[in-house]
């Protein structure tokens, strides 16, 4: 009764490795932790004496206000967000020949030497009803203006793009030449 047993053909397992490789690569690619990125800012320390205002000359301030309808006002004039970057850039670019633009201060900066820095401050005010989206949009435009100016300085003095710079000292030098001066007012109701 020696019946010949029917052999089940073996399943070829050699492609299993490929399949699992595929899975591995899939996981490797998809589980990239979403790198957190955002706009970094420094909050000012709390004021000890709220009644004591620091007097800043009017020509050194760029007033940016956002009301609760997300409308923008720059130095008392209504403004569209698309113009904000250019206005800010004009404001923060050192311009020694203009009486109305902010004051200039000569500074000695390492690697750059004597450099005209601008004493201008962007003052940002918002209403409690302003949407966060608009606020970030404005912050973004301001950051863009500062970054463009930094880019110009980086290119002029180091022949490098600001974003590509790796030398910490040089980055510091550019940051010192173009400091981000955005001041946020103490909260108050604006109409």
């Amino acid at each position: 009764m020696a019946r010949k047993k029917k052999k089940v053909p073996e399943i070829n397992a050699s492609s299993m490795a490929d399949i699992s490789f595929l899975l591995l690569i899939f996981f490797l690619v998809t589980t990239t932790m979403d790198t957190d990125s955002g706009i970094t800012r420094r909050l000012p320390p709390p004021v000890e004496n709220p009644d004591m205002d620091v007097k800043v000359k009017e020509r050194n301030i760029l007033n940016v206000m956002i009301n609760k309808y997300d409308k923008l006002m720059v130095n008392g004039k209504p403004c569209d967000i698309s113009e904000l970057k250019d206005k800010t850039k004009v404001f923060i670019t050192p311009n020694p020949n203009d009486e109305k633009s902010p004051e200039i201060e000569m500074k000695d900066i390492e690697f750059i030497g004597s450099f005209m820095t601008n004493k201008g401050v962007v003052s940002l005010k918002n209403d409690r009803g302003t949407s966060y989206q608009m606020y970030i949009a404005v912050q973004n435009e301001l950051a863009k203006a500062f970054n463009e100016l930094r880019e110009e300085v980086a290119w002029r003095y180091f022949q490098q793009h600001y974003a590509d710079m790796t030398d910490k000292d040089k980055i510091d030098a550019v940051n010192k030449a173009v400091p981000v001066r955005v001041s946020e007012a103490e909260p108050e109701e604006i109409k």
Partner: protein, 152 residues
């Protein structure tokens, strides 16, 4: 010709690749387990605003997160924007103890470098954000980062 044939007969036995899938599977499991995001379950809606001028957050271990947005379960909690710290809703007064706790959890040398990342839904009103910022100022957490989506 015969010479060659003779040589060909002495073949090195093929390395068994049978265990290869197991090794790879092990790797998969390793990656699946280790890359489990240690993110808190969000109880608020989170749609970040878009911005172009973004900077990367450098050290993830030195970041504490504050989430603000309208609750996901609107039927239960309404639509008013809420603050979420860790895994629960919090009030504005809870921020200072939260930051203190976050500081205690870090090594002493790292404490001044602690950054607070504000993850805020784009429709939140600035009133609440300003209140949170005031609290952060009070307890000396000056380094903040407005978390955004990178847009064009």
């Amino acid at each position: 010709m015969a010479k060659f044939r003779k040589k060909g007969g002495k073949e090195v036995p093929a390395i068994s690749t049978g265990s290869m899938p197991d090794i790879i599977f092990m790797l998969i499991f390793f990656f699946m387990v280790t890359t489990s995001m240690r993110e808190t379950t969000l109880k608020v809606k989170m749609r970040l605003p878009e911005a172009t001028e973004v900077q990367k957050l450098e050290k993830k271990s030195l970041v504490s997160f504050i989430y603000i947005g309208p609750p996901t379960n609107a039927k239960l909690y309404g639509t008013e924007s809420r603050i979420q710290l860790n895994d629960q809703y919090a009030r504005i007064d809870d921020i200072i103890p939260f930051i203190e706790q976050e500081r205690l959890d870090r090594a002493e040398a790292d404490r001044p470098l602690l950054t607070t990342s504000l993850k805020i839904h784009e429709e939140v009103r600035m009133g609440l954000v300003t209140d949170v910022k005031q609290e952060l100022r009070k307890c000396g957490a000056f380094r903040i980062n407005y978390s955004v989506r990178k847009g064009e």
